[in-house]
Symmetry: C2
Subunit: 316 residues, 2 copies
Amino acid sequence: MSNSLPLFDDIAAAARRINPFIHKTPVLRSRNLNQLCKTDLFFKCENFQRMGAFKMRGAMNAVLQLSQLEQQQGVATHSSGNFAQALSLAAQILNLRAYIVMPSNSSEVKKRAVLSYGAEIIECEPTLAAREKTLNEVVARTGARFIHPYNDIDVILGNSTAGMELFVETADLDFILAPVGGGGLLSGTALAAHHLSPECKIIGCEPFGADDAYRSLETGEIQPSINPQTIADGLRTSLGEINFPIIKQLVHKIIRVEEDEIVSAMRLVWERMKIIIEPSSAVAFAAIIREKELFENSRTGLILSGGNVDLDHLPF
Amino acid sequence: MSNSLPLFDDIAAAARRINPFIHKTPVLRSRNLNQLCKTDLFFKCENFQRMGAFKMRGAMNAVLQLSQLEQQQGVATHSSGNFAQALSLAAQILNLRAYIVMPSNSSEVKKRAVLSYGAEIIECEPTLAAREKTLNEVVARTGARFIHPYNDIDVILGNSTAGMELFVETADLDFILAPVGGGGLLSGTALAAHHLSPECKIIGCEPFGADDAYRSLETGEIQPSINPQTIADGLRTSLGEINFPIIKQLVHKIIRVEEDEIVSAMRLVWERMKIIIEPSSAVAFAAIIREKELFENSRTGLILSGGNVDLDHLPF
């Protein structure tokens, strides 16, 4: 099965392709949190990425992989979260049209962000069926190319460049943790580790209230995320058929955390590191606190996936 | 008068002295805020400094300048803010006693922070007279050395290392802005600019509700800060006799800002840069937004002085 995995060349090519358009984000450390966790922590700050999340990497790579003819027709996706903003910004940078299908109950903050990047919003009922139907209509009407938020190999390879940068900057990591929602970040990170740091154990992190990745790995089959209940709004989606085999092959384990653990991990990072991370990112740090013994005296990397929060509705 | 200014050697010596104990903080940039302000902004992130503020630099330098005999007696100060934490941490690093006189109405968050660095808190009535009287009693009882939060040349020289790092990393700044409360940061920054980038204009920033530095420069005499009203709690103090002559000689102008401008500048930095700054730091960015034309098409540095906020009491 191993020969079905993308090569390191594919990741390196994605990096070359997107580098002019993304930020190389810093790896921050915290003496304070190291002492608390008794481990050496390396925070890859994708909250400082353009539009505020790692999603920019995958979106940019996918759009750049389209032919000129395809690009002229524009791009489309359905997302109420960071991928909506990422695809909008990637399209804006290349002067392309972007059509974003968003559920009608999406927050005003998120709609404003998408509009600020010049995309067109098409509202739909807040169900998966309505999202897909509306998207199909948009694609039929406009000829735009649908870019899936995570179940797309170019999106996954774009995402893997965050892990690549971390491994290049930080040698000898024992663990790397990433949150898992649809699996686009976790599979991309695992691919980077597989090629650059094969001894490093890859751990996915998710809320108990949306533990479909845990259940999928337990059963060996993709288990849908049904009625997920979590503050980590980026982690409510189900795994995709393209990233699940990568996760199955390369990921060491999944750690699940409680909602109150997510909120207090988020607050701890805000207070001690003075950086803003969203709940989905806090899930990975909460996993380290929850399973402290596993990480003691190790070198542990975390992908802080994003920093888009609504300051008017903080959980503390 | 110029010959009374400290030499660059004095700043460099302070830097050598404190470097093992402080963080060299990053200079962050924001494409987004550059576009908004039509200027090239360079944010010196002292909110990432140990204990969360530039005050660590001055406190560390002052404590390291004491003789071994003086160090053994411990150090004392009165402060309800960041200097209390800074002196406590500096003392803890060197294994010295620290006595902190704090007004009885100081927030629990601040008291806990000071205690977490192993210092002893001595409470007093919330008046300047009570603070000074209590401090004198502490010094008489313990033999501890009083370190003034800002009116002390070693504190000023320690603070100047933040500006020094910024000028070394970032050439050709046209402006550098720093908030002004007691004047320890502004005078230190001005000294660094004077030696490293003499063409750079130094601007102090303060709230209209605590504009004693503005009034002092207008009249040529130190004007006390009487009943200051501002959310920027680090900027309520009056200038000192040691830093006022430096400010008078080297500072180009003072920009004053309204309270709502401080809050919205703070929110803008949180949202766009994903970093946590305290209201006193937001004052400098608010000044750029208020006097946009002055800074257009320039290279402008800002000292983000600190990031210690109470997340339970945010102004938004």
